[in-house]
């Protein structure tokens, strides 16, 4: 070690430009970053959270495999708003309902959104069934924000939408444990089924829901 340290004497060499270049690059990158992000990016974006009122007992958290204890249980009613600020209510009204919970940053939700839009455009909802999209888990820090723009882009902007609040009250009330998440309610507002994951068979499930809804 002593010999190694002895060999450390600086040679007679010119000052290295590396550190000057590095410092210059870092300063330049900082300036570019400030210019690129100056003025913000979301001045025209509508609010992505809205207050949600939950009435009724929350469903058990969705466990995935096995029998679902929530099936047959009366679901909690929700009241909130869509992106335009209009009041949206999900409550017992004698019609079956499908609630699709989506997170804008979840890649599986992003894959599911165009499938849902295609189903609605090409097949359409069966009679007696309403469908609601519930954007939840929203985070400005995450990819594909804001969800309002994403859903519009995916041709889901006209689908009845109830925006979840910052605490995810709607998601928690329906026992959401992962995204994407579908809850089917029969005409008595009882849970007919719940499932999570990409590749949802909307046509098959909603047809069966409609068949059992009358």
């Amino acid at each position: 070690m002593r010999a190694r340290r002895a060999g450390r004497a600086r040679p007679d060499r010119q000052r290295s430009p590396l550190f000057l270049i590095g410092a210059g690059v870092i300063v330049a990158l900082g300036i570019v970053a400030v210019i690129l992000t100056r003025g913000g990016t979301d001045r025209e974006v509508p609010a992505q959270y809205r207050p949600v009122t939950v009435q009724g007992a929350a469903l058990a958290p969705f466990a995935g495999a096995g029998a679902d204890p929530a099936v047959g249980v009366r679901a909690p009613a929700l009241a909130g708003q869509d992106f335009a600020g209009r009041t949206v209510r999900i409550e017992p009204d004698g019609r079956a309902k499908a609630l699709v919970f989506l997170a804008h940053w979840c890649p599986h939700c992003r894959a599911e959104a165009p499938r849902l839009a295609r189903y609605l455009a090409e097949v359409g909802l069966p009679d007696g069934v309403d469908l609601y999209v519930i954007p939840t888990g929203t985070s400005r820090a995450r990819e594909n924000y804001p969800p309002s723009a994403w859903l519009t882009r995916e041709r889901l902007g006209t689908v009845p939408t109830l925006i979840d609040d910052e605490d995810g009250s709607a998601a928690a009330a329906y026992g959401l444990t992962s995204y994407p998440y579908l809850v089917l309610l029969d005409s008595r507002f009882q849970v007919a089924g719940r499932l999570s994951g990409a590749g949802i068979d909307f046509a098959g499930l909603l047809d069966r829901l409609a068949a059992g809804a009358g």
Partner: protein, 235 residues
């Protein structure tokens, strides 16, 4: 939502430390630009290495510089990546996922050992640092692939709390956090490979090399080694 980031709106364009010009988004953009600079530098070094026969003088200069200052540069890169990751979690409030933690496990000690090695000018750190850099780089690559192709995980759902498939930062249509980490690891590894290849064989490394009036190396080692420059051919 359980994660600090999961259901909040605090991360993206909020102001950092109340500064009206520099927001979190500005810092994220700076990190993304730094990652781009890292991969341009890394790829540039390897192109130069492959074309060393075509541009011998340039390559020799690069090797000489990195042999002399590579440990400091590598330590700065690793320290910058460490500071950046701490900013993301402790200041911007982005909770690290499981794969993020594995990358931290590689990057944090890398910064520490490279700092000590740079202080001691001790290139013998190379195998240990390369092991950390390459291991971290493999995890970063897998994490980036999982973000882009989430089915790789074998499940088709996103967990609520903090899934590794979630892309917390996405800049310039290709830069995410594991992408930044990947190129920090790659740049550190490249510096260690190039700088420590020949001139850095000893502790003093290329610092010993010095030219005489005829541009020939006259250090003791080179006099006994047919006047080779570090990393280059005979002169």
């Amino acid at each position: 939502m359980s994660g600090r980031d999961g259901g909040t709106d605090s991360g993206g364009t909020g102001t950092g430390r109340g500064c009206p010009v520099v927001t979190h988004d500005t810092v994220f953009t700076f990190f993304a630009l730094a990652a781009i600079a890292a991969y341009v530098t890394t790829i540039g070094l390897w192109v130069l290495r492959i074309g060393a026969g075509r541009w011998p003088a340039a390559w020799r200069r690069v090797v000489e510089e990195l042999a002399a200052y590579g440990l400091v540069l590598a330590a700065l890169v690793a320290a910058g990546a460490t500071a950046g990751s701490l900013y993301l979690s402790e200041v911007a409030g982005l909770v690290p996922c499981e794969l993020c933690w594995y990358q931290r496990i590689a990057m944090y000690p890398l910064a520490a050992v490279l700092a000590v090695a740079a202080w001691r000018r001790d290139w013998s750190v190379r195998p240990f640092a390369l092991t950390l850099a390459l291991g971290g780089g493999v995890v970063s690559t897998y994490h980036y692939l999982v973000q882009r192709f989430p089915d790789l995980e074998g499940i088709r759902t996103c967990e609520v709390a903090n899934p590794c498939t979630a892309t917390l930062i996405w800049k310039f249509h290709h830069v995410s956090i594991p992408f930044m980490a990947l190129w920090a690891f790659a740049l550190v590894a490249t510096i260690l490979v190039v700088g420590g290849g020949r001139g850095g064989e000893t502790a003093a490394g290329a610092a010993e090399h010095r030219r005489d009036g005829n541009d020939v190396c006259v250090c003791d080692r080179c006099r006994h080694d047919q006047a080779r420059w570090p990393g280059g051919g005979s002169r």
